[in-house]
Amino acid sequence: MLAYAARRLAIAVPTLFAVSLVMYAILFRVGDPVAALRGTARLDPREVQAIIHDAGYDRPLLVQYGRWLRGFVSGDWQRSIENGQPVLSEIGGRLPATLELMGIALLLMLALSLPIGIVGAARRGSAFDQLTTGFAYLGYAIPAFLLGLLLQIAAVRVKETGWGVLLVAAGAGALLAGMLGIRRRPGQLTAAVGAALVVLGALLWSWRQGDFLVYTAQRFSPFASESVWSVDHLQHLVLPVLTLAVVQVATWSRFLRASMLDALGADYVRTARAKGLPPRSVIGRHAFRNALVPLITVVAIDAAALFSGAVVTEQVFAWPGIGTRFLHAVEVKDIPVAMGIVMVGAIAVVTLNLLADIAYSLADPRIRLV
């Protein structure tokens, strides 16, 4: 096991080097790391030349890269060209907002896609299956930024007309109705979530007098307490979390449904059924356990890719995370900050891929660790 992890690590680290070299070449060589300085009137070209020379930007690519790499490994990620802050502390200041968004979205994705995938496979061809299949196609076809914009429009309309809570309740009721024919536990769980949503909608309705507010931008309202536990903050979270979640729910639930169907068609499931085990046990214990194994990989890889999704979502909702910071850095040609954020993303991808491989081999004893 340890040897296997070490071998995977031995592949992961060079990959990271390769990615960083390519990104360095794009950002520092194709791009102009001192572009931000060239525009300022106070600096005359000779001073700019001096800065270029000091930073080593006139040296060969590999020498430059080596210099950057030494700093990177020792924790000196250079300073922002825009405001002179160390890149690491710039990123550190923005990371909590992004991690919060991704973490909550991740929980929502799992909470939705697991029951949808399981029930869809268990009741293949049912109304519920067809409905969720339709939504999955739609969720797959819609770019994240467009979904964000549409949600913003909907939120504004809802606030103006005040029928938002009814909408929530109606949607949840429809979900409930779709689940009614299902007697298995995932179905019951989803139905319970639907019922809870209806109750929540009704409570919000009476509390807010129909003025159900979700904010369409920022993380906190101006002048509000910047506490992550405040209602104000929750109202800011709703739309970006939904935006991030929908696409992944579409792909994950389809993936789980597909591997559930594989498992349900397998011999051991037929044996379990023939033994007279209750359907709940066959689906939950025999089929689901096995269908979960390939999903682990997909979830880990996509969770890392959420880093990219966060860029778009944060931009749409003006969320002060590293995604907006990255776009801003690129816009003002603050190359060290952009490079730092790219590396954070690449490290996340490589780490989660590694964890996925290890988790995969742990979850499925048939996989030989070579």
């Binding site: 592949i11 990959t15 990271l16 390769a18 990615v19 390519v22 990104m23 794009i26 950002l27 194709v30 791009g31 102009d32 061809g125 067809q130 299949t133 339709g134 196609y137 739609l138 797959y140 076809a141 819609i142 770019p143 994240a144 930024f145 467009l146 914009l149 549409l150 913003q152 429009i153 504004v156 309309r157 369409t216 696409v247 792909t251 994950w252 389809r254 993936f255 449904r257 597909a258 997909v298 890889i301 996509d302 890719a305 880093f307 990219s308 999704g309 860029v311 778009v312 931009q315 990255f326 776009l327 690129v330 040609k333 952009a338 954020i341 790219v342 993303g345 690449a346 991808v349 891929n353």
Partner: protein
């Protein structure tokens, strides 16, 4: 979704060509046909837009600025300038569809070539190509695109196509490699090799025709993906510039500031994107069922397997 064409080959009249059979099956897939018709309509609208609409892409008419959908401006007009949104959507389709098709084509060619080489030649070639595939899968695609977009002065159509293709060929390569690995031990390939056929001939004449159905389906999925990527880039303001090559993403970028009181500026270009990607995936679904010679099975869940990971935006 799968009901009507789930049992292709059930009662196929004998004596038809492979393509004829595929076409019959394709026609039986109602959503696939609907998608194909819709795609043709969108492409036609984009191509002959001047013949269909009395307005041009950017001709302003401030007198009618900020109108909602109605007559004569069916999709409404932009806010202060009063440009016709329907015209803009049709025009934007040119760039979006062109980028989608060209990028998917390029990515498919690249992925197929690399996948076939890796699968057939094996050994060192295989491990180099496989490492390369892993590397490209690790690179944060959006970050690369954004960084490139900012690093070059002006983003041209060719560059966008090339870069999107360079970042989306990997699933195709993996798929083709796996298929070729399975195929290369077949008797037909052995026979060809015994008769002295070289690797190029074997790959082109014996292997690729056998993986064609998989590749075609993968290519359709890539079209949708490329359209989404391009619109995202344009929306973020780092894709094609809105003046020389306006795409649906550019229209949405313009609409962003008017989300509160101009919903039609978002909904119509947005619907164009969603409908196109939906149609493309329905066509892909229909093609998959029509081209799979063994009916159901083998690559039934191609889309979920290979492309669950590819969607990152």
């Amino acid at each position: 979704m799968s009901a009507p064409a789930d049992r292709p080959g059930a009662a196929e009249p004998p004596g038809r060509t492979h393509l004829g059979i595929a076409w019959r099956r394709f026609r039986r897939h109602r959503l696939g046909m609907a998608g194909a018709v819709l795609l043709l309509a969108l492409a036609l609208g984009a191509l002959i837009q001047p013949a269909l609409s009395p307005y041009s892409f950017s001709s302003p008419d401030p007198a009618v600025g900020g109108q909602g959908p109605g007559w004569p401006h069916v999709f409404g007009t932009t806010d202060p300038l009063g440009q016709d949104v329907l015209t803009r959507v049709m025009y934007g389709g040119r760039t979006s569809l062109a980028v989608g098709l060209a990028a998917a084509l390029a990515a498919t060619l690249l992925g197929t070539t690399l996948g076939a080489l890796a699968g057939y030649l094996g050994g060192a070639v295989d491990s180099v190509i496989s490492r390369l595939t892993d590397l490209f899968l690790t690179a944060p695609p959006l970050a690369v695109l954004i960084a490139l977009g900012s690093a070059v002065d002006r983003v041209s159509l060719g560059l966008v196509i090339l870069v999107i293709a360079a970042l989306s060929w990997m699933p195709v390569a993996r798929l083709v490699r796996a298929e070729v690995l399975a195929l290369r031990e077949r008797e037909c390939v052995l026979a060809a090799r015994a008769m002295g056929a070289g690797p190029v001939r074997i790959i082109l004449r014996h292997l690729l025709p056998n993986v064609a159905s998989v590749v075609i389906v993968a290519a359709t999925l890539l079209v949708g993906l490329a359209i989404i990527v391009e619109s995202t880039l344009s929306f973020l303001g780092i894709g094609l510039d809105a003046i020389s090559n306006p795409s649906w993403g550019n229209l949405l970028e313009d609409a962003r500031s008017e989300v509160e009181d101009g919903w039609w500026l978002v909904v119509f270009p947005g619907a164009a994107i969603v409908l196109t990607v939906l149609s493309v995936s329905f066509v892909g679904e229909a093609l998959r069922q029509a081209l799979d010679p063994r009916g159901r099975g083998r690559d039934r869940r191609l889309s979920a397997r290979a492309f669950g990971r590819a969607r990152r935006w």
